[in-house]
């Protein structure tokens, strides 16, 4: 490539990058302004920066509580999904029969059904048995997210030779030992992918938790929704709240960037 065109591309890249970052600049700078400051200049940097907005919205959002619920629900759900869907994929992949072919089709076909189609009977049923809480929600995530996870796991598992299983069997290992001691550790790269895809979708989910969770178990998106409704015209507080809610995601991205991009690519391309 010629030098001039490389410089041109660099400049184009910088400009586009700035356009992409503009929304973040807006909420970050304005979250430090007073209401008057926002009114005086939306686009400029804050003249007198205040951290009061953060203190107030931290309290109003009950931030530590909603962060705790988000973390608990995401971590437990993802662990359950990884654990059970890898086991299911193992059973289906290592047993070539009509039945397991049909079961795999069943899992794949579930991916076609949009959430709205099942949400009303689903919440009614769970309501009847008093499972409209975070434990019910975790079970729901297993049901909704198992399909893609099994699909990803079983594709990878087909490249692990069955001789591995057989030699372990000769040594006297049972099925659980074979799976957990030999097969599952070999699946680590795809486990990272499955984990990341599920972490992103569960962490950010709004609609399902809004139908399931009682107010005492609100996650960050839910808390944000009600917080925003309360402070519609008080942008200084709303923006500080928004910024707070984004911080955990940005930290996660900063630490796991490489895995996230790879995981998302694998998940979409496979």
């Amino acid at each position: 490539m010629k030098k001039t065109s490389r410089i041109f591309l660099g400049i184009l890249g910088i400009l586009l990058g700035l356009v992409w970052l503009f929304p973040f600049y807006m909420i970050l700078t304005n979250s430090f302004k007073t209401p008057k400051g926002i009114f005086a200049s939306v686009l400029g940097l804050p003249t007198t920066a205040t951290t009061a907005n953060y203190k107030n919205s931290f309290k109003a959002l009950d931030f530590m509580n909603s962060l705790g619920h988000s973390l608990l629900i995401t971590v437990v759900s993802v662990v359950i999904i990884v654990f059970f869907s890898s086991m299911a994929a193992y059973a289906l992949q290592r047993n070539k029969s009509k039945l397991s072919g049909a079961l795999l089709m069943l899992f794949v076909s579930a991916m076609l059904i949009p959430f709205q189609t099942v949400m009303i009977p689903l919440t009614a049923n769970f309501g009847h048995v008093h499972m409209l809480n975070m434990w019910g929600l975790m079970l729901m995530y297993l049901g909704f997210d198992a399909s893609l996870s099994i699909f990803l796991y079983q594709g990878t598992m087909s490249s692990i030779p069955i001789a591995m299983d057989e030699s372990a069997e000769l040594e006297g290992a049972n099925r659980f030992q074979i799976f957990f001691k030999i097969i599952f550790p070999m699946l680590t790269p795809i486990t990272v992918t499955v984990g990341i895809l599920n972490i992103i979708s569960i962490w950010n989910d709004y609609l399902l938790p809004s139908l399931v969770l009682p107010q005492t178990q609100y996650t960050i998106p839910l808390q944000m929704f009600f917080f925003f409704g309360q402070y519609t015209k008080q942008w200084h507080l709303a923006l500080a709240g928004l910024t707070l809610s984004i911080i955990p995601v940005i930290l996660f991205y900063a630490f796991a960037q490489r895995y996230i991009i790879k995981g998302v690519t694998d998940g979409a391309v496979k």
Binding site: L9, L16, F24, M87, M119, P121, L139, N204, I261
Partner: protein
């Protein structure tokens, strides 16, 4: 691992039970309820196709469908053009191209609900300020009518999702053997000719995937719709997913909402499958 072995079923049972409880049983019940006057607790009457007739008459469904179809057409085109353009940009060798990937992808990690709130501030406050400074009247009052609300939703979606589409195109762009490009360069092909005759045909599978994702995702958008415009003013920006949720939980018309949800399922499934079928055929022809 044989069908009849105990371990086969032990390995499968937890996910099968969850799938049945969460997807299949509710789906079957939903089909049944859509023919009744179900109110979320029970039903007293079988209505036959009455809910299905109602949804095509004056229930907001057609308006939401038309709004959603227009939205999907515009976003599918924009996301694929911009996503591919970004992918081509960041796969060139220049300083900072890796950082750019990170930046373009970032909005994807933040939930749609939060993104909608962020942009609500930008449309209502920042756009107004920029409009005043530059004396462009059209920048004030965004989200207050159906037209600007439509474009607001388009902008949020493009900002959010083009980085995602970008990384899928990158994955395929990197698989093109460099000898092929070099050979074309030697033969004197211009960059545009190289793109049209080599790059574009070679990433046809990426195009199939991205079309599928942008299409099905566009139909299902809810969170951004809720937090950006909440369907307003006067339901003029209400999309399909939101129309169904509101019919159920705001109007308490559960049976009608279920009928709408089933039509929604048929539309999304039919369009997605047709799209994949035609694009796959195109891939083979090449």
């Amino acid at each position: 691992m044989k069908n009849r072995s105990l371990s086969f079923w032990l390995f499968l049972t937890p996910t099968l039970v969850a799938l049945a409880l969460v997807v299949f049983i509710p789906a079957i019940m939903g089909v049944f309820y859509s023919f009744t006057n179900w109110d979320g607790l029970g039903y007293t009457e079988m209505l036959g196709f009455k809910n299905y007739i109602t949804l095509f008459h004056n229930s907001g469904f057609l308006a939401a469908l038309w709004f959603t179809v227009r939205f999907v057409i515009v976003t599918v085109i924009l996301l694929n053009v911009i996503g591919l353009a970004l992918a081509l940009l960041v796969t060139q060798k220049f300083k900072g191209s890796n950082l750019l990937r990170t930046i373009f992808f970032m909005p994807n990690l933040i939930g749609g609900l939060i993104l909608g709130f962020i942009w609500q501030f930008i449309f209502t406050q920042a756009f107004t300020a920029i409009g005043k400074a530059l004396h462009i009247a059209g920048l004030s009052g965004w989200l207050t009518d159906a037209k600007t609300g439509f474009w607001g939703l388009v902008i949020v979606t493009v900002w959010q999702m083009s980085g995602y589409i970008m990384i899928i195109y990158i994955a395929y762009l990197q698989n093109i053997p460099s000898e092929v490009i070099e050979a074309a360069e030697m033969d004197g092909a211009s960059p545009w000719q190289r793109f049209v005759h080599i790059t574009f045909p070679m990433i046809a599978p990426a195009f199939t995937i991205c079309m599928f994702l942008t299409l099905s995702n566009g139909f299902k958008i809810y969170d951004q719709n809720l937090s950006l415009t909440n369907g307003g003013p006067y339901k003029s920006t209400e999309m399909l997913a939101m129309n169904i949720v509101n019919t159920a939980y705001s109007e308490n018309n559960f049976a009608l909402a279920e009928a709408k949800a089933l039509i929604f399922f048929l539309i999304v499934a039919a369009i997605s499958m047709l799209q994949v079928y035609y694009n796959r055929k195109r891939e083979v022809d090449l």
